[in-house]
């Protein structure tokens, strides 16, 4: 049932120009950044060969690309998730799902999996760029894998937050803006702490999305970082399901 709902969600996405333009624009932007990094690498190649323990191709090109892809998609994901429930509420099509023999959990997971399908398609095209470097050099596959896991988890978290924001309003734009606000807040939440001291203390570093992302794309795989993302996703999906239930109750 989840996949039935997910496939409709994905199909509807591709029936509108939104999905295609997002794919094209993300690809263009990341491609441009990627080329910039390759250019930079070629410029510093001579100096690198003089170094004793030079950073590799992966560190110099792929980690920055992943890092920038995260920021670009932070801007894009809210636009994908904003319609999920909010638009169904506004067009009053949610009744179709609510009066069918489907549980709330299936509705939320169906929609979530649908958008994640699109995110994976996007990721696949992003991944093609680093892979193309294999034709001319050696890559640290472990580091790429770690970065890929990080980016996947990050986008899955963005999507989960977006789904939740979409359940609390019937205005897609409000859903998009609040998702964007929440994600950006979690992105910058420990910046102030960083200025005061190098040694981050308090609760903010735990909350920061960035703090858990940076080590992973640099190849430092900590289970606590992965757990952070998994908890983040679960929390927002559970909240969405609760929210959908609560909509039927007393206002």
């Amino acid at each position: 049932m989840i996949f039935t709902l997910a496939s409709r969600e994905l199909r509807s996405l591709f029936l509108s120009p939104l999905a295609w333009s997002i794919l094209a624009i993300v690809q263009f932007l990341i491609g441009y950044i990627f080329l910039g990094q390759v250019d930079l690498y070629l410029q510093v190649q001579a100096q690198l060969s003089a170094m004793q323990n030079p950073p590799g191709l992966t560190e110099l090109i792929i980690a920055p690309v992943f890092s920038n892809a995260a920021i670009i998609l932070l801007l894009i994901i809210p636009l994908l998730t904003m319609r999920l429930i909010a638009e169904e509420k506004r067009n009053q099509t949610l009744a179709l799902l609510l009066s069918a023999p489907i549980s709330m959990t299936e509705i939320i997971l169906g929609k979530y999996v649908g958008v994640m399908g699109f995110v994976f398609i996007n990721l696949f095209f992003v991944l093609l760029m680093p892979i193309s470097l294999l034709s001319g050099g050696n890559l640290d596959i472990g580091m790429i894998a770690s970065g890929l896991i990080a980016l996947t988890l990050l986008l899955a978290s963005f999507t989960a937050a977006g789904v939740y924001m979409s359940t609390i309003t019937s205005q897609p734009t409000i859903a998009a803006v609040s998702t964007f606000g929440l994600l950006l807040l979690l992105w910058v939440i420990d910046w102030a702490v960083n200025i005061n001291s190098n040694q981050a203390t308090g609760v903010t570093p735990y909350l920061s999305i960035l703090k858990h992302y940076q080590p992973l794309i640099n190849g430092v795989f900590k289970s606590s970082d992965v757990t952070y993302y998994l908890l983040f996703i679960t929390t927002f999906l559970v909240l969405s399901i609760r929210r959908l239930h609560a909509d039927r109750l007393q206002h």
Partner: protein, 337 residues
């Protein structure tokens, strides 16, 4: 052995004829402090078409949303085919088809794609999907529209797609919120006969504020006003209420008013024009036979005798508009319609 079997099936169908499919018990619903539905209870049996009638804002849609699980009742219990809508929502909803006020269609899909999706979310087995879709399209007259985008269809056709969606899994209970809104007169007739046809082996609850629709399609009527059930009545009972309590009579040689008021059951006599009167009488006693006999005996030359029927509309106004402000509200509502 075979006889036994037929007997059992006959017995079964007999029992299922009277089986209660929808049961609503003491259900209320508040929006904030505003009580939209106030302690309503009713049952719907298999093969029965129940009409919910009431002015705008009476709580019809809220009641329907609760029956279909789109809203949770503030208190009370609703069961569909003996499954509680809140405790066993999946079982209850599998027996339920719902057409909300706005047909819940995805405008970016074609009719076929949409109905395929609906058959999937209603868990119709894969092998039966094609048949179910064909049947639903045929019943709603959508065959020529299969490949059209729903967003490009007219309101009437979108409404039909909405009905097709509600009946696609052949549910025991079909709930239709104003099913004929936005249709042209021919389509209205088609949909009404479809509702009658479906009413043979399903339970149907429909809401409307078009009064003739009720007499055309329903077996029983609930009149709701301000969230309360004012009247529960079969169509036959309602027609009895419609029975006249006044007569129009005309004579060439009219008798005096006094003579007319002497008849059994006559309460008052109004003179309409020369020789033409309106007689108000108690509903239980019909004085027309006496009048005819007296007219022959006294040579009054009766030329006209017509029982004046109260229209359903008048009854409806009678029941729902007890205060002046109500009438204001209803007329306003009619204007907006």
């Amino acid at each position: 052995m075979l006889e036994d079997l037929t007997e059992i099936t006959a017995l079964h169908s007999l029992r299922s004829q009277h089986e209660t499919l929808v049961s609503v018990k003491e259900v209320s619903r508040y929006y904030g402090k505003n009580k939209a539905v106030d302690n309503i209870s009713f049952d719907v049996k298999r093969g029965e078409v129940l009409g919910l009638l009431g002015p705008n804002g009476a709580g019809k849609s809220t009641a329907m949303q609760m029956i279909t699980g789109n809203l949770a009742p503030s208190n009370g219990q609703i069961t569909i085919n003996n499954f509680d809508i809140l405790d066993k929502p999946k079982n209850a909803k599998a027996n339920l088809g719902y057409l909300p006020e706005q047909p819940p269609v995805y405008k970016e899909l074609t009719v076929d794609e949409y109905l395929t999706h609906c058959s999937k979310i209603n868990r119709i087995a894969h092998s039966h999907q094609r048949d179910a879709i064909t049947l639903a399209k045929e019943r709603c007259g959508l065959n020529s529209m299969s490949k059209r985008l729903i967003g490009n269809l007219s309101k009437g056709y979108q409404q039909r797609v909405g009905i097709a969606q509600a009946i696609i899994h052949s549910p025991a209970v079909i709930v239709l919120d104003e099913p004929t809104v936005g249709l042209d007169p021919r389509q209205i007739r088609e949909i009404r006969s479809l509702i009658r046809e479906l009413g043979n082996d399903h339970s149907i609850i429909l809401s409307t504020h078009i009064l003739p629709e009720v007499t055309a399609t329903c077996d029983r009527v609930l009149i709701i006003n301000r969230g309360k059930i004012m009247v529960t009545e079969t169509i036959i009972g309602l027609q009895q209420r419609i029975q006249s309590s006044s007569l129009i009579v005309a004579f060439q040689h009219p008798p005096s008013n006094d003579e007319l008021s002497q008849f059994d059951g006559v309460l008052s006599v109004d003179k309409i024009e020369l020789g033409r009167y309106r007689l108000h009488h108690v509903p239980e006693i019909d004085p027309s036979e006496n009048i005819v006999n007296q007219s022959v005996n006294n040579n009054w030359r009766l030329t006209e005798i017509t029982p004046e029927k109260l229209s359903l509309e008048e009854i409806f106004m009678d029941i729902t508009c007890t205060e002046n402000e109500d009438i204001d509200m209803t007329t306003k509502a009619e204007e907006t319609v």
